[in-house]
């Protein structure tokens, strides 16, 4: 790289300037654009609140003071951030490979089901074995569920956008069937599974809050995914396949193997999110175990520009919004429908700025 640049550049001084300029553009794109997306959506949200007779600024302060009120409320934000970061990180890997996995929601359910099935089946195990076992079960189930879409793409050229969406429905409805049928807790009137055995519960890291060890695992995996994507040859191959499958094939890289790898990694991360929800938060399987984390994870990855480390921050931001939506209802009586509209605006503007960045980053393609 440096050689090519210095041949182009007339002097070393302007070389440094060019480098600085590039670094500046990169930082600008990584930080300023997402920030702009958030600001624009906040402006729209304030306008919408004003039209409905609320003072936008008051609501904003109520929301932030509620979200960061005490240790518990901050722990709740991190608790919500955990699945969002996990899914976002996984989707960064898939999206870098140009695999448009819209099925994280279904993969989360697959993971949740596997974790529940394993977590109620083996009494007598110690936590040291049982907790890793249920987590592993969730990750493997998520990966397997995603791999179905990957294999359909490889062998039948079926668009993963369509197949992953369809697999979402299957996973969600199958979960409903399981908790009303085979996995239903016989003692309960409400459709829910039996409670996970105590030894399968993930350890809490900030008692008395509900925050569990999952947030640390999520952050560690985000960093690991970054190293994989940008500092390893296997990750390099995933990215090359994403940018140009033909070039990848020409360079001797297996396109289908990398597709399968990328979609399985994203599925495993979504499965982990499901595993953590069961083994760390609810300890039972319910019909609506995810409030849409799988879809929000797409926005998390896009806002992070498909950078796994960035997903730590964008995932936390979306968790703040999510916590804030409950606070806005409880402390300011903003109706849930209005809160949903505001969340929608945030996601739209995030995606909108993402498309703009995508276009401007590749003018020649």
């Amino acid at each position: 790289m440096a050689n090519i640049d210095s041949e182009r550049s007339p002097s070393a001084g302007s070389d440094i300037l060019n480098g600085l300029g590039r670094a500046f553009t990169k930082t600008w794109q990584a930080v300023a654009m997402p920030a702009a997306a958030v600001l624009v959506s906040m402006g729209c949200g304030a306008l919408l609140l004003a039209l409905n007779g609320f003072n936008g600024w008051d609501i904003f302060t109520v929301m932030l003071s509620g979200v960061f009120q005490d240790t518990r409320s901050i722990a709740e934000v991190l608790l919500k951030a955990t699945p969002l970061i996990l899914i976002g990180v996984g989707l960064c890997v898939a999206f870098r490979c140009s695999i448009w996995n819209i099925g994280a929601e279904g993969q989360l359910y697959a993971g949740a089901v596997a974790t529940t099935a394993v977590g109620i089946a083996f009494p007598g195990l110690t936590s040291w074995i049982y907790v890793p076992l249920v987590i592993l079960a969730g990750a493997l189930a998520g990966a397997a569920w995603a791999a179905i879409a990957g294999l359909l793409k490889i062998y039948f050229r079926a668009s993963e956008i369509v197949t992953t969406i369809m697999l979402n429905y299957i996973a969600i409805i199958a979960t409903s069937w399981l908790v009303t049928g085979p996995l239903k807790d016989a003692a309960a009137a409400y459709p829910q599974s039996a409670r996970l055995l105590r030894e399968a519960w993930m350890p809490k890291i900030l008692p008395p809050t509900r925050l569990h060890i999952g947030i640390l695992i999520a952050i560690a995996l985000a960093i690991a995914a970054y190293i994989f994507l940008f500092r390893s040859s296997a990750g390099y191959a995933v990215r090359v396949v994403g940018i140009s499958p033909h070039a990848a094939r020409y360079a001797g890289m297996s396109v289908s193997r990398n597709i399968l790898l990328a979609i399985s990694i994203s599925g495993a991360m979504a499965g982990l999110a499901g595993a953590f929800e069961i083994a760390g938060v609810t300890f039972r399987l319910y019909q609506n175990i995810s409030p849409g984390y799988g879809f929000e994870g797409i926005a998390v990855a896009l806002l992070a520009n498909n950078n796994p480390v960035g997903a730590i921050f964008s995932g936390t931001l979306f968790a703040v919004l999510r916590s804030g939506s409950e606070i806005m209802q409880i402390n300011a009586q903003v109706p849930q429908v209005l809160v949903s509209v505001i969340q929608g605006i945030v996601i739209l503007s995030v995606v909108g700025f993402g498309v703009y960045r995508f276009r401007s980053a590749r003018p020649s393609e």
Binding site: Y190, E277, N331, Q336
Partner: protein
């Protein structure tokens, strides 16, 4: 003397926080929070709780707040804590699904009473509230067996409260005539009025002359079917007053005024009288469970049967007749 900039900034920040967040509210204010598993904008289950909450605000002068949680169990505990930690004296979780979360949170907040709809729980400050529909359904069964040849029951989804109500109906009918035929159908939906109507029409064609719904808004289909079948076929209006839809066929109306029940319980809690057991609204609670006759029907319930029903009602209230297996 030079003004210390850092000190000034810190002072300003504290001031801003104090203004922004406002002073702590007086402790005496009575506050009630509500958790609903869906949207209060739609008619039905969640709306009932919302209207009860509005009545608590109006009649007891309480500060109220509600949150819609859309069946997301992971959020239940946190919402309970949000309210309890802000000093809400009463929090109502509207549905059995909130029971586990309330039991987990309640020991941390002994000054808050956690009410759970359609639950029989009573553990410390967690108190279940239930509306026992099996009692008015027992009365309906008595009337149907006294007046008709056979009855059909159209249920929404086979869940305990609906099954119990139907068992009450069958026990009531059998107390009059052990061989009185009662058939039951579950349409698998609380909204599909067409399916309810089809089920009712087929029951009528098979000889039922009383067809009674218990299927939320889908139940309207039963009322329509009975009206189309004409005179001789009777029904009861259940939970909502549909008398206008079939004024000639409806023999009686059962409505549960849950809001009134909530206002009574919550005002007791405000005055220091927290219920000592779980609350099960039944015919003894005449302000909550109301069963009335329709005098405008083609075949109104005759006076002698009304007298008999009144005796049965008294026995249920006295506990001499059990309408539901405990």
């Amino acid at each position: 003397m030079k003004l210390k900039r850092r000190g000034f900034l810190a002072g300003a920040a504290v001031l801003a926080v104090a203004i922004g967040f406002g002073p702590a509210k007086a402790q005496s204010e009575f506050k009630m929070g509500l958790l609903v598993p869906g949207s209060v904008a739609e008619e039905g289950w969640n709306r009932i709780a919302y209207e009860a909450l509005k009545r608590v605000e109006k009649e007891l002068g309480a500060k109220i707040s509600y949150v819609e949680l859309h069946e997301n169990p992971a959020a239940f505990e946190n919402a309970f804590r949000d309210y309890a930690s802000q000093g809400y004296q009463v929090v109502l979780g509207h549905g059995f699904q909130f029971q586990d979360a309330a039991l987990t949170v309640a020991p941390e907040f002994p000054d808050t009473t956690f009410l759970i709809s359609s639950s029989y729980v009573h553990e410390g400050n967690v108190i279940g509230l239930n509306t026992d529909a099996s009692q008015p359904f027992y009365l309906m069964g008595v009337i149907a067996a006294k007046m008709g040849k056979g009855a059909g029951l159209v249920g929404g989804i086979e869940i305990p409260p609906i099954k119990q109500a139907f068992e009450g109906f069958m026990d009531g009918a059998k107390s009059v005539d052990p061989n009185f035929p009662v058939s039951t159908v579950y349409i698998g939906s609380f909204t599909d009025a067409t399916a309810a109507k089809e089920a009712a029409l087929s029951m009528i064609s098979q000889g039922s002359d009383f067809v009674v719904p218990n299927a939320n808004s889908a139940g309207l289909g039963v009322i329509q079917a009975v009206r189309e079948a004409g005179t001789g076929i009777g029904t009861f209006s259940v939970y909502s007053d549909y008398t206008e839809v079939a004024p000639k066929n409806i023999a009686g109306t059962f409505v549960a005024d849950y809001g009134q029940g909530i206002v009574r319980i919550v005002s007791g809690i405000r005055d220091g009288a927290v219920p000592e057991t779980n609350v099960d609204f039944g015919l003894k609670d005449e302000d909550v469970i109301k069963f009335t006759y329709n005098d405008g029907a083609d075949k109104p319930v005759p006076e002698d049967i009304r007298k008999y029903v009144e005796q049965v009602r008294a026995k249920i209230v006295a506990g001499e007749i059990q309408t539901r297996a405990k």
